[in-house]
């Protein structure tokens, strides 16, 4: 065990892991967080807490992660490279560990151009690969980047992201391999819709033996409607939504589209369970946390294992 988190235990025990996601509020309302979090209780092994996603200012991911810890839920504390230099990052990592946070997900971060403060100065002192290696150094060597020995070691279970649908495709497995080299213990992928491309990605990853070095969790975001599917297809960078899903959603009554979207997600999850090299799923039900019981039920991933 590297960190002894619930997610690590579930994955290490060979169970098919499930993680969820919680976006902090654009304000200081703790009740909103608790309400969202309760929807996820008992359905997932750990919960990603996003770090100012899409560069929109929200309550800090470390604070929200700590709120989850306090109510007995396990966070995957997300940290992006956009807003902090190596001094702040290492300091936050030590602090997060001190607060009982055990999983950290290292990301580059969406460019600030997309957010509510496009005038901001961005940082990118480290990139996601280098952040992963920093967390690993702090854990495995007990040292900061400066070489300074830590008084008390922050032993995190280290996560990373992977987008099988970014270009160039042939580099995507290489990039995953690099992240594993840097120190990733688990990886969550971008939302998957193009199953053919993902099967090919996994085939190549398995061929390189990457699934034996790192737990690969497939990203799933249920489509709520035809409108959402079209939006993702057209406007979200690095997203690959095939037409056949759009056709399928169009084929049902508008009021039944959400249900159909959940059915599609459940079918995907069932396939991931059987797919070689896939160790779990990361379900991003964005502003749809209350649908998580239905999603997890339909996908057949309940009850969650007790890993201790």
């Amino acid at each position: 065990m590297k960190a002894g988190s619930n997610l690590e235990k579930v994955l290490t025990a060979g169970h098919f892991a499930v993680s969820g996601e919680l976006g902090p509020p654009r304000g200081a309302d703790v009740e909103v967080i608790k309400k969202k979090a309760e929807h996820l209780r008992g359905l997932v092994d750990s919960i990603n807490v996003t770090d100012n996603q899409t560069s929109v200012v929200r309550m800090g991911s470390m604070a929200v992660s700590k709120i989850l810890v306090d109510i007995g839920l396990e966070p995957n504390y997300q940290m992006v490279c956009r807003d902090r230099n190596r001094i702040a990052m290492q300091s936050d990592l030590l602090g997060a560990y001190g607060l009982g946070i055990r999983n950290v997900l290292c990301l580059s971060g969406d460019h600030n151009k997309f957010g509510d403060h496009p005038q901001a100065k961005n940082v990118f002192d480290l990139d996601s690969m280098q952040l992963i290696s920093t967390v690993k150094k702090m854990r495995d060597e007990g040292k900061l980047l400066s070489g300074q020995e830590c008084e008390g070691v922050a032993s995190f279970f280290i996560g990373a992201a992977s987008n099988p649908f970014g270009d160039p495709f042939e580099f995507r497995v290489t990039r995953l391999a690099k992240k594993i080299d840097a120190g990733a213990d688990f990886v969550q992928t971008q939302c998957i819709y193009n199953m053919d491309k993902f099967r090919e990605f996994m085939r190549l990853a398995v061929e390189e033996g990457l699934h034996e070095k790192c737990y690969i969790m497939a990203g799933v975001t249920p489509l709520k409607s035809v409108g959402m599917a079209r939006y993702m297809q057209k406007f979200v960078p690095g997203m690959d939504v095939p037409d056949h899903y759009i056709e399928r959603l169009k084929g049902v009554d508008k009021k039944d589209q959400a249900k159909e979207g959940i059915k599609i997600a459940a079918e995907q999850i069932q396939e991931f369970k059987e797919m070689k090299g896939v160790a779990g799923v990361h379900i991003m039900a964005i502003e749809w946390e209350h649908k998580m019981p239905e999603i997890c039920e339909t996908a057949g991933v309940l009850p969650r294992p007790q890993a201790d």
């Binding site: 151009k113 990118f124 996601s128 270009d167 580099f171 391999a177 840097a182 960078p237």
Partner: protein
């Protein structure tokens, strides 16, 4: 070269609104090459300022001059006769931002920048310039097929491309090439894709602006 572009005329007019006579100084260096602040642009801006102020019935006298360079004290010294005797109340420099600062070092009167100094770059085609260097002070482009991800990747990633690279373009805009896509294509053509496989280590930014204002002293050249 340093690439710059002229500020909007309204901004420059606002800067000089309190003055009756100004010196407008161009530079024959980089800003002449990038058509922002050479003799020709000095002439155009001078006319535009005069016309605008004439319309306001508040005429502005604009003395035009272009120096060989504005980043060298010996050329800045050539402005002395004009600035000391001609009743000039302020200077507007059409050089990169080094120019107005050098003028201000030598003369005690208000100095204004007419240009926005934009980047270190080159001309892609007639009328198009792009950024190629961020002056990090420790060139590493040979690790990236000869392309600079620090200046040309929106996130300055040293282990790209990120997940936002799509069809060779950056996630921030379809107008922006993903430099990491270009790096990948070039290394592939050079049969050096192995260079994309190794994790590039954390960069030391102390040679960049982050280490404080930079200065080079060459003892072999000092008089």
């Amino acid at each position: 070269m340093v690439v710059a572009e002229r500020k909007p005329i309204q901004e420059i007019l606002a800067m000089v609104s309190d003055f009756k006579k100004i010196l407008l100084v161009g530079c024959k260096g980089c800003v002449t090459v990038c058509c922002a602040g050479g003799t020709k642009e000095v002439g155009i801006l001078a006319s535009a300022l005069r016309i605008a102020r004439k319309k306001e019935k508040n005429e502005l006298e604009v003395v035009e001059h272009t120096l060989e360079r504005q980043c060298d004290p010996e050329y800045i010294a050539q402005l002395a006769p004009m600035l000391e005797n001609d009743g000039i109340e302020a200077v507007v420099s059409m050089a990169c931002s080094v120019g107005p600062q050098f003028i201000a070092r030598s003369y005690l009167l208000p100095v204004f920048p007419a240009l926005n100094t934009t980047f270190t770059g080159g001309s892609l085609e007639h009328g198009v310039w792009a950024e190629f260097c961020q002056s990090c002070g420790n060139c590493v482009i040979h690790n990236f097929g000869g392309l600079c991800p620090i200046s040309r990747c929106a996130k300055s990633l040293m282990n790209g491309p990120c997940g936002g690279s799509s069809g060779g373009k950056c996630e921030i805009s379809p107008e922006v090439d993903c430099v990491w896509h270009l790096i990948h294509e070039r290394l592939k053509a050079l049969d050096r894709l192995d260079m994309m496989r190794t994790v590039f280590p954390i960069k030391d930014w102390s040679t960049s602006r982050d280490g404080g204002p930079r200065k080079i002293t060459r003892e072999d050249l000092k008089l």
